[in-house]
Homo-oligomer: 385 residues x 2
């Protein structure tokens, strides 16, 4: 028997219509009675990550967004460019729930010991469909947060922490000794700095603004390069010589940055060469694109020899590759360091309806450093934005 | 004691000067008396491969080439663009020999049994510095050609055949089941077709002209797509669905072709999908760039999910990776199939001096299909071009 009324629950939905319109709205959904090994979670905190925006906005031009309906039940409409529509045929007409991860309180549990043990606990999960008031999931999906940890502190226990850990682990598995990271002052970038300092992994941070450099210097970053500096290529090359970094994780994706990183890695690799090699250095240089802050085309000149690679990197296949035991160990490490290494900060806490206000969308939609939103689907309607 | 006078020998040289000039010329070099395990080869056939042109031309604009000096001892000069000069600092002032591979007759041998056994044999080697009349090398470098094989038939025993074999082997090692190849009507491309038919590996050929398609259809190619066709993307996608090819080797490098291949691979991978996946297919799609026929920038839109890679591919590291025994087995296979699978065809046979004629440079410098030159450094001066 739940400790409170959980059904029907409000849930945020993203719908792509055949006419090229994106529609965001709130639906009322039935929450099932939990099966023996299931629990029902009252979701109290779920971040809006860059990785949520693809599913949420479906590539729509949010500059065209309009809102209709009452304040507590808004409907947002926006136009999807024809190019983006071509890749969306499989989701046309399906109203999809959104939200990769979040945290909350277990308010109902099935009969199994595992489920019952979670009753009234604060748990985090990467369950999908988290922009919802209540969520029924298998008990094994729940990460119990240490006593004294708020849901808001555990909301981002998966995507960013595991991505930061995944970058360091990928570096080790692929034989590199140091890392480069772009858009490096993000919540993820800050975590990665703290993690790399802890693990003694040299990290070269690439940012675009002086205030971003400051954020990173304050938490102890040793190498920060500003890509808008007139001497950026030289500065990056020097940092790469100092660190021997030959692996980069790029959140921007579009433009020339990935290629520039490879060019500077090659310059660093050949800086001490005494003999001409027509095929360039034999040092393998790799950039993984894991985000798409710049949705434009990727462009590079192949002036970095033949030992190079650019590719996509995604958390889920990485976790599958390392296997369930290694995954569980990473989860426990994140839980233990949620208030230190893996702490997140947010600009605003919004309800589901407030997340669909155009002024909110215009802020979190930019994915700008220091403009991160947290959704509390059970936020008191009277509370301030 | 050599069976003929071998020293001094004529050798083609490429020199980058500090003022940004490329100079091609013929030098006279001393050929050493062979050590016990060495042999001296009279070079009779050495191809001008695309992979030789980087070292030979050093990125110079050969449209600016001029020639001076007598017909039998010409000096070619051409301008190197400033951008290319930046990557050439390590070779400025060094007069470099050229020519990756070739074949000829052993005319002198050291005292060891291995060296003596090669006396008067026709051998092939990838010794470097092959655009020369005589070459002294270790006996172990020589691949003895089967009786009745001409030097001209064995001249291309390494670069193209081992690259074709390396592509198929890379496909197997990386878990792919079929191949895509661009600039597919080249000598290498024709070999790859014959090899793939023999090995029952489905191969999708991408060409740019109807006559190139004809060349490939004649040797039995099942899938040929013309990138100038208005329906190229659809035609390529259909061929990729039919073959399940998820690995491409691209000789062009620049432009949008590599990205278009990935786009079509993704379309093929999701053609039968019934459910929308926001990160695209989980099928890993790979393009290796192994040449640079298009020296312009590489550009792509990342509309092919997250499971993809683009990278450089080079024969030498591949051979090092498979080890000396596997390499030796590949060499023997090439020797046995030189007149069938691994046969090469040439447009013209030129002497070293003739290779420096501007009309010759303007033909082989284009790297066009069906315009391949063979150098015979010991060509009778009276013979026709």
């Amino acid at each position: 028997m739940p400790t409170e009324a959980v059904s029907p629950a409000q849930q945020l939905r993203s719908l792509v219509k055949a006419d090229g319109t994106l529609e965001l709205s709130l639906a009322m959904v039935e929450i099932p009675v939990p099966q023996p090994n299931e629990v029902v979670i009252r979701v109290e905190a779920s971040p809006i990550n860059p990785s949520d925006l693809g599913l949420l906005f479906a590539g729509a031009d949010m500059e065209t967004a309009t809102v209709s309906g009452p304040t507590d039940n808004p409907i947002v409409a926006a136009k999807i460019p024809a190019g983006a529509m071509r890749t969306l045929s499989a989701r046309v007409g399906s109203s999809l729930p959104v939200g990769n991860e979040g945290a909350g309180t277990v308010v109902d549990a099935g009969s199994s010991d595992a489920a019952q043990a979670l009753m009234n606990k604060t748990v985090a999960l990467a369950g999908g469909s988290m922009y919802t008031q209540y969520r029924c999931v298998d008990a094994s999906q729940c990460l119990v947060l240490p006593d004294g940890t708020l849901a808001s502190e555990g909301a981002s226990s998966f995507v960013n922490p595991l991505t930061a850990l995944g970058m360091v682990e990928t570096m080790r598995r692929e034989g590199h000794r140091a890392l480069v990271h772009t858009a490096a002052a993000s919540n993820l970038g800050q975590m990665l700095n703290k993690l790399c300092i802890e693990e003694e992994v040299p990290l070269v941070n690439i940012v675009r603004r002086p205030e971003q450099e400051e954020i990173l210097r304050e938490i102890g970053a040793a190498y920060v390069c500003d890509s808008t500096s007139p001497n950026f290529m030289d500065e990056l090359t020097h940092a790469l010589i100092a660190t021997s970094a030959t692996l980069a994780f790029d959140a921007t994706g579009g433009g020339k940055l990935a290629g520039h990183i490879l060019t500077c890695m090659e310059a660093a690799a050949t800086a001490s060469a005494t003999e001409y090699s027509r095929y360039g250095s034999t040092t393998h240089k790799q950039v993984y694109i894991y985000g798409g802050l710049d949705r434009g085309p990727t462009e590079f000149n192949r002036n970095f020899g033949m030992a190079w690679g650019i590719g996509g990197w995604l958390l889920t296949p990485f976790l599958q590759k390392i296997g369930p035991e290694a995954f569980q160990a990473l989860r426990q490490r994140v839980a233990a360091e949620l208030k230190t290494t893996f702490a997140s900060t947010y600009t605003s806490v919004v309800s589901l309806a407030e997340a669909l206000r155009l002024d909110a969308i215009s802020v979190y939609g930019k994915q700008a450093t220091g403009e991160k939103y947290l959704i509390n689907p059970n936020k008191d309607p009277g509370a301030a934005l």
